[in-house]
Structures are given as C-alpha cells and as structure tokens.
Symmetry: C2
C-alpha cells in the first residue's frame, strides 16, 4: 500500500506539471518516498486543525518541489481538492508555482529562493526551543514540543545562507531540527561533479550535527528507522538520502528532468512502471483514505494530549485568564506600553535611545525577542540587563546570530512564523546582505523589525564600504516594507508605536550613528502619517525644506539662521516617506502646498524624492559613494554641513 500511495503522489505531481505545462518533475520522482514517509508516519499534524499550535512543521526548502508538496498535502487530507491540483501554477489558484504562506493549507512558509527555507526552518526550530522552555505547566509538560523537518536539495546546500543558518543551528544545538537532504548529485545545470565536491556530511558534522546516510531513498524501512532515531537525537540532525533525480523517467539522473514537463512518451512508460492508470489526475480513493487514516490514528493521541495541556496551562498557570496567552496565538499586541514618561538624556545617539525603547518593549511583551549579527554592542540592540539566549539558557532574550546577516533575516522570519515579533540589527550598509530575507518577510507579511544603524555618510571614517547611500531607497522601494528614518528620540518612539500598533508586516528602522539632541520640533504621534510640519512660519513660507534622519538637525539649524536673514522656511520632517505618500491629497497639499518651492535634504539616493519634487536642482541628495574621513569633513565634502546647506538653500530660494 505504501508504494501505491507514493506512486499515486508521483503521478499526481507529474500530471499537475503536464497540465500546467510548467514545473519541476525531477524532485517529484526523487523525493516522493521521503515526503510520503514523513507525512504518513512521522509528522504530528491535524489536517482539520491546520493551525494547531503544536503541530510539527515541514518546510519544503527546495520550493520548486511544490507539485510534490501539494500532491502529498492532498493525499494527507488537507482542504485541497483535485480541482485545486488542476489549477497548479494558474492565476488565483490555491497551488501557485512555488509554495506560498497563507494560500495553501499545510504550507508553512513561502519558499523558492534556494536556501531561504532551510534558514527559516532554523528560526522555527529556535522558536520552538524557546517556547517549549517558557510555556510549561506545573506538571512539567510544555505547551510546545514539536519538531521542524525540512527538505533540501543540492542547491539549498550550496547557498551561503544555508551554511550560516546551519552553523548557527549547530552552535545553538537545535536538536528539534531534522534536515532531509535529497541527494542526487544533480542541479539545474547538470551534475554537481564540477561544482559541489564537498563532503556534505563532514561539513554538517563540523557544525555539530548528528549525520546519517541512507543509501537508497526508496528504502522506506530505513527511512522510518533513521527518522525514529532522529527524533530522539541530542543534536540537530542531518540525513543524507541518496535518490535519483527524476527516478523512473527516461531522463532519470540527468539535469533535463529538473525543470521541464516530461514528454508524453516518458509519462506513459513512467506510469506503467508506477502501475498507475494513464488517465490524467488519477486518484486511488482507497490510497487517499488509507493515508489520511494513518495520519489521524497516529496523531489522535498526541493532539488530545496537546488540548489537555493547553487546558492545564490556562487553568493552572493563567488561572483561567486566556487573555494572557492570546497574543501568542493571535498576534494581538498593545502599543500602549510606550505611553509613559521617557527618561532620556538630552542628547544621545539614536541607537542608545533605541536600546532604551527596546528594553521597555522586551520588559512588557514576552513574544518580542531579537539580537544582532555580531554588531549588538555597536548597534546597541544588546540589552545588558537581560540574559543571553544560548543553547544552555533558553530564557534569554539576547540572540547571538554571529556575523550572519543573511541567516539572521531568515531566522527572524522563522521566529515570526511561530508567533514571535522578532527584531534583528546590523549596520545599514549591510542591509544588502539581509535584503533577500527581508523580501521573504514582506512576501509573508511577517511582523519582523529590522534595525539598521550607522545610516549614511555621517558614519565617517569607516569609509565608503560602510557608508550606505542607496540602501535607504532599496528598502523604501521594497513592496510591503514600512521604512522609518527617525531624526531623534521622539520620532524613534513614534516609529515603534506605529509598528506595535499595526501589529503585522515587516518594518525597518534606520538610525544615524551620531549623538543628537531631542528636538522640540518633532512629534511622536505624527510619525504614523509619515511626514509633518516640524517648524512652520507665521507668514506664507519662502520655501519648504523636507528632510529626515540626522540631516533634519542641520536643516532646522539652517532654517533658524535663514530666519535672521529674513528668509522664512517651513521644515517638514519625513520619517517615513512611504506612509506620507499614502496620505490623502488634502493632507499632502496642506503640508506641501503646490505654490511654495520645496527642497529636499537627505544623504541618500535622489530617486527617493522625485515623487515629491520634480526639478532635480531642488534635491540636495547623494548619488555617489561616500569617502573615508571625519564626519564633519565628509559632510562638508558632500555639502551636508549646516554652512553648505545654508548657502545652497539660500541660493535656491533667491
């Protein structure tokens, strides 16, 4: 029966690809036995309660294996119809080209860009470890004790992010993580003989994993045996499973079977081998029932226990008050914790302000957690009053990601997938390394906060490699990312309030490096609108200067100086351009009336600002790389010191 079901999964996957005229048959045929074994015999899931908080997670890191995943989910009894499978890769379907979160029941993560899935899985496993430790009943039972399984291919393992994440998983000893490696020495372009000679199991051993080899990926008995060992491992587990890409196809073991539909002849001979009728979308209903029952019978007891544990937790730990745990399941966070009196120094670097705010949030909201890619003592996101999160201390709040910006992003996504509201920090210049994972946060609409400090050329002497110029625009133009560039403590608080109030979707907070005063002109509650009048004139303004971040300080100084010369300037602070552009026409016109000349001052790409200002000459922005030197010298060189700005603005308004 097992083989029948596997073969039916294979034929369904192949039919989906044939019908869509697009897809990846290779992995369907190589990895179907792995997915079947996992779902039928190991994964603790409940297809009628797909969001069961303590379910095992399976991540298809090789996201091009979507047809295989959907066929398996269908056979497992998720709410996916045969019609859904027929709509594979079609617009608006439940079965898109690569797995997408919130579209297909049973899909736990959007995958496709290789390496992201495995790194996100590491984040999920980390999340489980923390949750498991922190939500225990008096009986010792925990609300959480699930495993995270992930299927990877050669491509995933060549990606740098997979090394970063797995080295982290080893350092944190995430024994709840089980990686299944569909190992067939074949990637899109051909055999991996040229490209990937490394001893992969040795590599995972060097990370601190327990490793296994299964020489024949069709050996279900061995698969079950090793998976049972893996579940009891005291280390993270890596299982190399030797398979044949496109097993059974005429193109078996060639790269041609990776990413294109099979020919008709090939399908006919394949289905004969598989002993499956040749009709498209054939389903053996007995097989489907058998698989569903197998899962239900196996998981029933675990699921009931989980329900009991939840009851015990609510009764004994929360004294019946479910509210105290609701945020863990509903993403329901209140922002009013930020409504107290701030005791900030008159003048400080915003990363210090940020630290103070972060600590307040961490003290109040248990599901907020985060860390830095080894720049915490410079980005100041390391909260020294709180404990470190380590393999030995899961109560800690400070995550040590190591110098692993990419993996940090994906791990944050994983944490968000198990309902944390995580944050991570590095220098803005290195947001380049995080971008691929931020894109995944945005695609999945996860409540991840990216804290990027050392914004702009004002960092000075570290030079152009460390001076972000184009990154601000890169982040602003990323769909669904909310980008804040506060000028001072007020606006930094306003940024966090806005983030906590919306409660969903990713955000980035960009902070300058230098010490700045708290401005009288800035307003906490205006940040959510994106831009507002910081300094106005009594008469009709001679000009409006729009600015953000550290540059706002110079602009305000200039405005005050010019006033003494009789030039009256309205200063508009724009901590969040994206939000401002979404305000009503009336609001925008009120802040930036058409008939007044407008100037922008921002040490970043001019592309950001043409939506507000057409004439290039009114843009005091930066479209070249910076240079190494003292901040004041660098500012002067590029015309961002107050004196240069005053001269330029005066000239422009003549």
């Amino acid at each position: 029966m097992d083989t029948d079901i596997i073969n039916n999964i294979k034929s369904l996957g192949i039919d989906m690809i044939t019908n869509a005229k697009s897809g990846h048959p290779g992995i369907v045929l190589s990895a179907a036995p792995i997915l079947y074994t996992l779902y039928a015999n190991h994964l603790n899931i409940n297809t009628s309660d797909k969001n069961w908080y303590n379910r095992d997670r399976f991540i298809m890191s090789a996201g091009h294996g979507s047809a295989l995943l959907y066929a398996t989910l269908f056979m497992s009894g998720y709410n996916i119809s045969l019609e859904d499978l027929k709509q594979f890769r079609k617009i608006g379907s439940k079965t898109p080209g690569h797995p997408e979160l919130n579209i297909t029941p049973g899909v736990e993560c959007t995958t496709g860009p290789l390496g992201q899935g495995i790194a996100t899985a590491v984040g999920i496993a980390l999340g489980e470890k923390i949750l498991s430790n922190n939500y225990k009943c008096p009986s010792g039972k925990s609300l959480f004790n699930f495993k995270t399984y992930v299927l990877v291919g050669d491509g995933d393992l060549m990606e740098g992010i997979s090394y970063e994440a797995c080295s982290f998983a080893g350092s944190m000893n995430l024994k709840n993580l089980i990686i299944l490696y569909d190992s067939n020495n074949m990637s899109l372009d051909g055999s991996t003989t040229y490209t990937f000679k490394e001893d992969v199991r040795k590599r995972f051993k060097s990370f601190g994993f327990k490793t296994y080899l299964i020489k024949n990926g069709n050996d279900l008995k061995k698969l079950n045996f090793i998976l049972n060992l893996a579940k009891r491992s005291s280390k993270p587990v890596f299982i190399e499973i030797k398979t044949k890409l496109g097993n059974g196809s005429l193109l078996e073991n060639t790269n041609s079977v990776h990413g294109k539909p099979l020919t008709n002849d090939d399908i006919i001979q394949l289905k004969q081998k598989l002993k499956v009728p040749t009709d498209l979308f054939y389903v053996n209903d007995n097989s489907k029932s058998y698989m569903q029952n197998k899962i239900a019978n196996r998981v029933n007891k675990v699921y009931t226990e989980s329900v009991d544990t939840y009851k015990e937790y609510v009764d004994k730990v929360l004294n019946g008050n479910k509210n105290r745990i609701n945020y863990l399941f509903n993403n329901n966070i209140q922002a009013n914790i930020l409504n107290f009196n701030w005791q900030l120094k008159d003048k400080q670097a915003l990363r210090d302000t940020n630290q103070y705010i972060l600590k307040t949030i961490l003290d109040n909201i248990p599901i907020v957690i985060g860390g830095s890619a080894d720049l915490g003592s410079s980005t100041m996101t390391y909260i020294k009053e709180l404990e470190d999160l380590t393999s030995h201390n899961l109560k800690g709040k400070n995550i040590w990601f190591g110098v692993r910006e990419q993996a940090m992003g994906a791990i944050l996504n994983g944490l968000a997938l198990v309902n944390f509201h995580p944050y991570g920090s590095t220098f803005l210049s290195f947001s380049d390394y995080v971008k691929p994972s931020i894109r995944m946060s945005a695609l999945m609409n996860l409540p991840v906060t990216y804290i990027f400090t050392h914004d702009s050329i004002s960092i000075g002497s570290d030079g152009p490699t460390h001076q972000p110029v184009e990154q601000l625009l890169m982040l602003r133009s990323l769909p669904n990312l909310d980008v804040f560039r506060p000028a001072d403590a007020n606006e930094t608080i306003g940024s966090y309030k806005t983030i906590l109030e919306k409660g969903e979707g990713p955000s980035a907070i960009l902070l300058g490096r230098n010490t700045v005063p708290i401005l009288e002109e800035t307003k906490v509650n205006e940040v959510e609108k994106g831009g507002y009048i910081a300094l106005d004139t009594n008469k009709k303004p001679d000009g409006i200067v729009i600015s953000s971040g550290e540059e706002l300080h110079q602009v305000l100084e200039v405005a005050k100086r010019l006033k003494t010369k009789g030039i009256e300037i309205r200063v508009v602070s724009m901590p969040n351009l994206g939000r401002f552009l979404k305000q009503s026409d009336e609001y925008i016109e009120n802040i930036l009336p058409v008939e007044v000349r407008k100037i922008v001052v921002e040490a970043g790409s001019s592309y950001s600002w043409n939506k507000l200002i057409f004439n290039q000459k009114y843009l005091i922005t930066l479209d070249t790389f910076g240079t190494s030197g003292k901040c004041s010298d660098v500012y002067k060189k590029y015309g961002f010191d107050a004196a240069s700005l005053e001269e330029k603005i005066e000239e422009l308004l003549k």
Copy 2:
C-alpha cells in the same frame, strides 16, 4: 630583529588608530607577526613595480585590519610616507578607514564588508590558474605563477559568502590559494563561544582543503615552516593560527579591544612590553631598511626571471608583436568585433540572443570569461560550443559557479582584478544575493558584466519569489553601475557594444524571459545614449510613451492601434535610464518635449521614473509583488497586456 620589526609595526598601527581616534587595535596586535612573516619571507612583490603582473597577491579580508596592513606596507617600502600614516582615516588620505583599491600602493582589493575579501581572493586564485595555463612559453615557463594569500578572521568565516567561495575553491582545487585564519575566538560582540562552535578546520577539510593548525601565532619559525609547506600543497590551503586579540593590551582577549582606540595607560604599558619608545609614530629606520632589503634580496631573482619570461613570451609566442598581449595588461578592448552581420532568428528569447553575442565576444576576446550560478541552461549563458572550465581543464570558458550567487559576484571581481573582463548570470530576482558584490565591483570600478535574465512579472508561473519588481530600481540606483534593459536583439547588441567601448566599470544587462521579435523601431547605436525615439509621429504627438524591455513591444503595438483611432503617439525606448539622464538638456528636451504629455510603461518600481514624470497618474508601473500564473494572465492582472495598456493610455490622453 624580526621581533623588533613586528613590534614597530604594532606600535605604528596603534599610533595610527590613536591619532585618528578611530580604528581597530585588536587585529593589529594579534596578526602583526603573521603579516610580517608573510611580507618579509614569502610574498613575491616588488615595491618599486607595484603592478608587476606576476606578483603574489595579499588580500586583507578582515578589512578593519587596515592600520596593520598600512603599517606593514610602509615598513615593506611601498610608496607610503609616515605622513600618510598620520593621515589614517582622514579625508583625501592614502590611508582610508578600510583598504581601498587604487588609493594605497600595495592594496590589491577594497575590503571591509566581511567575507568579500576571501571570496574575491578565490576569484584571483582562479584567474591565476587560468592565466598560468594559457600563457606559456615554448620552454614550458608560464607568464603567471603567483600565489594568492588572504587573511581572515572569525567574522569572515561566519559569512555565507566565505562558505560559498571556499566550497567553490575546493571544487576547483585552487592550490594556489592560501588562507590564513587569525583565530582568536573573539568577534565584535564578544567570545565566539555562543555563536561559532563549528570545527572550522573540519569544515575546510570537507571542502577539499589541506588544513594546518599553528597553536601559537607568535611562533615565527612555525609560521615560516607551514607557509613553506603551503606553497607546495597540491590542494588549497587553510592555516588556522591561534592568536590573542589585542595581544599585549590590558584588554587582551576581550571584545573591547576590537574596535576602539586603546587608552593612554594601555598604550604606555604596551609600548614598554614591545620595547618601543613611547613617542607617537616612532620608526626604527634600521628595521625598515632590514625589512625592505630582506624582501628585495629574496624577490630579486624571481622578478628578473619574470622579466625574462615576458621577453621570451613576446619573442617566441607573439613574434615580437606586443599588441596581442597588451589587453591583458592595459584593459584595452576593441568593440568593433560586434560590427558584423547578425544572423539572428526573427523571433527569439533575448537570453538566446545574448548567448549568440556572448559566444562572438568569447571567440574574439580571450580575457572575457564567465558563467552562471547554476542557471546557465536557463539564462542561456552556457556556451555549449566552448569547453567547461574545471579543475582539470583550465582552457575552458564556461565557469560553473554552482548555486552560489554571492560568491559568483566576488569571484568575478577577483577575475577582473587580474585583468579579465568577466561576466556572470542568474535570474534578476536573485540579483538580491549578488548586490553586496556588485557594490564592490562599483566601488572598485571593475569591468564586470552581470547578466540578469527572467526580468519582471512576465516570467509568469514561478510566482512572486521569482518575479523581480524592485530589483531594477535597486540596480539603477547603485552608484557607478551601468544598467541596460534592452527590448530586443538590436538593443542587446547595442548594450554590449556600449559595455565593450567603455571598457571599465561594472554593468548589468537585464533580459526578459519571453520570445520577442527583432523590432524595426530599435537602434543598435542609440543604446549608448540611454533613450531615443523608436517610433515617431508626423505631426506633433498627442502623447509620448516611454518604455523599456519586453514592455516596449506592447507599447509599440498599442501605438499602432491608437493611430488607427487618430491618436498619434511617439514611443521612446529607454534601455538605459541612467545614461539618458546624463544626456544634455537639449537632447532630453528633443526626445521628451515639455509640452507633450508623457506616460511610462514599465513593470517595475515607479520610483525609477519620477525624474522624468512627476504626475503619478502617468506612470504605468508596478509597486507590488507579482503573482503565480501564465504570463498573459499575470500581465492582464497588473494591466500590462496590450488591451489594458491601450485602454489606459487612451484614457490618459483624452
């Protein structure tokens, strides 16, 4: 004497940091013995011929060790004065905060973002292997036989790009690469105990490296012994050298010594230990002469041999005609090879056109070489008529980077640093992974060509993870990157002509996935101007539509349809927005006269276009993620099919 010089290098490095009030003392004190040993006893360099083509290369991957590097270069006799050291980290100096190419004699590569240096070094080593194999005299001697040395710290080795690049180096068996690991279990945030538990030597063994351990980084005898072994290795070499961060400082072995100047007290006690006078910028002239002579005496013979080999090569291989080798040393490439009759099919995907052009270039210019991050059979940059470059075939032209986008970028930079004009390809969506290395290409002004195919939502069924939306703007806004988005074969040829003619600086060519005809309206020679009139009207146009890439085809169709309705439209093709914006006001006004309404059609971020068009309603662009579906359905959903465009444009021009 050795120790005296090392101590003088240390004291100079510390003085530079003290004087600059900024820098990284930790690595100066831990790694000075390594750098001294390398320069004094091993590196084949000629300080009076710093660009000697066959010099050994040293890359300071831990770029924050700039003070150590500059002090060592100074003592080695490069054209760096004591005054230059005093200007460390100051604006306009020869000694910027992190090493920068073309600023400091002896600096081979811009470094700073961790991991980039080591990955670039892999590219340099690969380049040497190819050159060494391809430029041989009849006597068997090669023009090239240099080694590439690279110093890395814990941070470098945690970065994903370093795994990617080293796994590649192992697969290519780059035995000319010697990695020196300054191993002190300490990174910026503290001990690596939490974050980096991996067995690093085992990891490098898994990649195919020969590994060594030196337990005491101050043991010069051992250092020399192992380096001598390393130079004879038949595999790439990884040497772990145990050091103490900030060796000798009061903060020795703590993260506090990593990135901040030492206190006065600390400096005084340190200089006592080092037996160096306490005066700032003390130099023992005897030490300096000794070190310079040591290098000169050792290298003299090798250098003379190299000069002889060059003569032999010119005489015997080139028959005295130096021109045939000049491009190898002068970056002098002629673009006229692209002036022949193209035999292109009427209709083909631009990636196929691109392949045809690439092959022509490869057939004519020996220093062009490239490959793909395992998408060559999909980006079509794999040239099947040419051989594969493998560890056993160094004549090959097709590089197999594996699924390693990040490392590919850095390796291309390394190849460019040894005078190749390399190219690399992947899907545009994954340009996100390459961005950090493209930034390095741009900072170093290297002639690297990035080929990004599968542009925009038109790729269809692979879905939003594979559909680039914001990447086009990300590339356009990167300073010093020349971004081409050709619409058809003519413009693709024009893009390559422009790239070959300029001969320097990085470029990106973005190609759609779908089959397109060669347009009558496009012009090869207009591409260099960035934008031009593709289709004009006889009378004053009713409107101008600007477009690029695949969308130009729909726009031309729409223009023709609208003409039958009496609406006359000028179509402007804009394959390179950045170049167009640099044209004279007259040129721009001629193409886009102020008084005519203008509309943009491009399936990418609207931020790109506000420089030309202020009113948002005239932008038919895309600021959200795409969706999985057939190309035609996706186009329709987002309004980029000809019918939707026609309706929209007609409405806008009413």
